[in-house]
């Protein structure tokens, strides 16, 4: 089980800010593939990975990163702070 969080328009497209996901995905990309296969709202949210960022346990990471030992995955668009 892993906590998956969504922010900004990713959250809006998926419809929830966070959920617990039962997965044996080895990498972030594998997890995304599992989610996309579930429902259209995930396919919509993940249609263009170049416009998405991912954080693993609150550190920026990449889609090819391993999920081994990770408790929290977050997906969001490029940040617009400041």
């Amino acid at each position: 089980m892993i906590d998956v969080l969504y922010f900004a328009w990713v959250r809006e497209r998926i419809g929830v800010p966070r959920e617990r996901v039962e997965t044996s995905a080895a990498t972030v990309a594998d997890l995304v593939a599992e989610l996309v296969a579930r429902e259209d709202r995930y396919a919509l949210a993940f249609s263009d990975l170049t416009s998405l960022r991912v954080a693993l346990d609150q550190e920026l990471s990449t889609f090819d990163a391993t999920l081994a030992g990770v408790r929290e995955v977050a997906f969001f668009p490029p940040m617009t702070g400041g």
């Binding site: 922010f7 550190e59 668009p77 490029p78 940040m79 617009t80 400041g82």
Partner: protein, 148 residues
């Protein structure tokens, strides 16, 4: 060194004054501050909503402050960043840096702003005329990171 991620407004003047006073006592000769303000380019903005990632935001900003303190050997540094609802003219955030000399204080404040723009998990949504639009990241903001 202090950071605050908060929904409440803050007093830019009072924060600047107390930062400068404590920096002076610590031997700083130069203080740089920055504040970001909600703009309304088209005169139609009703509000801005800033979403953030509680937990990661604090960690990311603390890491930027640590980097800046070490790299420019700062006397002190400060980040305050609001989230939630803001309106035109509201102060969104501020940065302050203190150093013996001006070049380091300027560079560190500039660096912190570039990283806050593109590496701290905040997202702005502008509400105008019944529409709400997520602000796109600007390509030049990402490119600005290459300066450091």
């Amino acid at each position: 060194m202090r950071l605050s991620i908060q929904a409440e407004p803050f007093d830019f003047g009072a924060e600047s004054a107390s930062f400068a006073a404590s920096a002076a006592a610590l031997g700083a000769g130069a203080v740089v501050t920055f504040c970001g303000i909600v703009r309304d380019n088209d005169g139609i903005l009703t509000e801005m909503q800033i979403e953030h990632y509680p937990g990661m935001t604090e960690k990311a900003v603390a890491s930027m402050l640590d980097q800046a303190m070490v790299r420019w050997d700062l006397v002190d540094a400060l980040v305050i960043h609001r989230h939630g609802r803001l309106v035109k003219g509201d102060i969104i955030m501020m940065v302050a840096t203190a150093s013996p000399h001006r070049a380091a204080a300027f560079a560190a404040a500039d660096y912190l702003m570039d990283y806050l723009k593109s590496r701290a998990p905040f997202w702005k949504k502008e509400h105008a005329r019944g529409d709400a639009v997520w602000v796109d990241a600007a390509p030049q903001d990402e490119a600005a990171l290459d300066r450091w």
